[in-house]
């Protein structure tokens, strides 16, 4: 790890000021990803601004309904919060599908959004990576790319976003609240993360000196017909090869509202309005689900080792929609897939 200066932010405005005053500084909260990246020398900040003591740890019910989650709420507190378990079980399930108990105890809500890809070449500083070092090339294209993306890729980057929590937040139409030098703004979760395009070094649309302060969940919570189905190489404590968050509203066997978000397949949580439109107004059955899966994957492209993900994604979408329709969400402890 490189040597660096350390300072504590006194409040959110102070954090923004300190960041603006030192272009090479980074915020640190839980640190579970950043400290690891610093040990690999992927990140070499000259200063860390400690935001972990800021008063952003509340989970509150705002007057208009929904739920507002402070950016420093640990992942485990969010997953096990009674209101989240009761009203947003999809979010709770997705968080508990990710990482380990120890990591969830440290990792913050805001930091989960900002974690970086787990692409093998991003971590390996001896290899080219356009995300780590713009213009150096992509070693994953033509390399070992089993875990890489099949949707929304560019010819310079095929990394995936590793979060489970963010997939559920995208499905739930959450909003990210941020504060920067220009004041406060809200970003739709689906617009927060970016596709790689020709600027893969930018994971998100967060401004240089902006800080995430909260996540807002809308009132509609899909507590009956939902699932988070995560497929991975180990039964626990592994990143998704493919993950699907599915949420439906069903009346008399007909789908009235559909949300479908994929993880492990793209540079951001993957929502596809056309696929969701295919589901609405149709009967909740496998033929319908298969049509939606075909729409989601119409432009899917493999890079060799990850070709299997296209068929895996198709099957996982169908199974997840089936679980959601049946009201039998995937358990995150009993790993049998029903």
């Amino acid at each position: 790890m490189n040597s660096f200066q350390y300072s504590r932010a006194q409040d959110v405005a102070d954090a923004v000021r300190q960041s603006a005053a030192d272009g090479s500084a980074k915020f640190i909260a839980g640190g579970t990803n950043l400290v690891d990246l610093m040990k690999y020398e992927v990140e070499r900040p000259a200063r860390l601004i400690d935001i972990s003591h800021l008063p952003l740890r509340a989970i509150e019910e705002p007057p208009g309904g929904g739920l507002r989650v402070g950016a420093l709420v640990p992942n485990s507190d969010l997953a096990w919060h009674p209101q989240v378990k009761e009203r947003y079980p999809l979010l709770s399930s997705a968080i508990l599908a990710g990482a380990s108990t120890q990591l969830r105890n440290m990792a913050s809500t805001g930091g989960n959004l900002l974690q970086r890809t787990r692409c093998l070449y991003f971590y390996d500083v001896a290899t080219p990576c356009n995300k780590r070092k713009p213009g150096s090339g992509c070693a994953a294209i033509g390399g070992i790319n089993r875990i890489n993306a099949i949707l929304g890729t560019s010819d310079v980057c095929i990394a995936t976003h590793p979060s489970d929590m963010c997939v559920a937040l995208a499905a739930l139409d959450a909003t990210v609240h941020v504060v920067g030098p220009e004041g406060e703004r809200a970003i739709a979760m689906t617009d927060f993360h970016r596709l790689p395009g020709d600027t893969p070094e930018r994971d998100t649309n967060l401004g240089a000196n902006e800080i995430v302060t909260a996540i807002a969940l809308p009132a509609r919570s899909f507590r009956t017909h939902y699932t988070y189905l995560k497929i991975r190489d180990r039964l626990s404590y592994a990143f998704a090869l493919v993950a699907v968050a599915a949420a439906l509203e069903i009346e008399g066997g007909i789908i009235r509202e559909a949300r479908l978000a994929l993880g492990g397949v793209a540079h951001k949580p993957w929502r596809d309005p056309e696929a969701e439109a295919v589901l609405v107004g149709q009967s909740a059955e496998r033929n319908t689900f298969a049509k939606a899966a075909s729409v989601v994957l119409r432009d899917a492209k493999g890079f060799g080792h990850n070709d299997f993900k296209i068929d895996l994604a198709r099957r996982t979408i169908i199974r997840a929609l089936d679980q959601a329709a049946q009201g039998t969400p995937q358990s995150q402890s009993d790993k049998r897939i029903a």
């Binding site: 660096f4 990482a99 990591l103 105890n105 626990s236 358990s331």
Partner: protein, 155 residues
């Protein structure tokens, strides 16, 4: 070199340190406080050997910067026994032969103590899932789970 004052309560004793900001909690415990029960395995948050209880909750001490834990309460495996009597989880690990080489054991025990105190895992499947951040390369998992189940019943 920037040195920062940090006060921690470690195993019930207040400790004050002047440390460089890049010192992990793991290195502070082992190299500065001489508490070598907590192990450095992967040093990347993947194996769980460095697990300690921070304000009662299991965390990976290898990914925690010590300067950020000012004012916190840290319990390591050395702090679990009381008056010469092993913690029930420690005794259960012995009774069930829940280790072979023992390198992962301090982390396993700290995770198990956290698991029992938060009360979220009840079934065997839930215990396995909650303990998945602690790797045992000897493969003592069945005995580890049995030890935790027994310690849960006893508390």
């Amino acid at each position: 070199m920037q040195q920062i004052s940090v006060a921690l309560t470690v195993n019930g004793v207040r400790r004050e340190l002047e440390i460089a900001p890049w010192t992990t909690l793991l290195d502070a415990l082992r190299e500065r406080l001489g508490l070598t029960g907590t192990k450095k395995g992967c040093d990347h948050g993947q194996c769980g050997a460095c697990t300690v209880l921070l304000d009662g909750r299991p965390i990976n001490s290898c990914l925690a910067l010590a300067v950020m834990q000012d004012g916190s309460d840290v319990t390591t495996v050395e702090g679990l026994a009381r008056d010469g009597t092993l913690h029930p989880v420690q005794q259960a690990f012995i009774d069930h032969d829940a280790f072979q080489c023992g390198y992962c054991t301090p982390g396993q025990i700290c995770s198990a103590v956290g698991l029992i105190s938060d009360g979220r895992a009840r079934t065997r499947a839930e215990i396995r899932e909650a303990m998945s951040g602690n790797i045992c390369r000897c493969g003592a998992y069945p005995n580890i789970i049995a030890a935790i189940e027994e310690a849960m019943k006893a508390t």
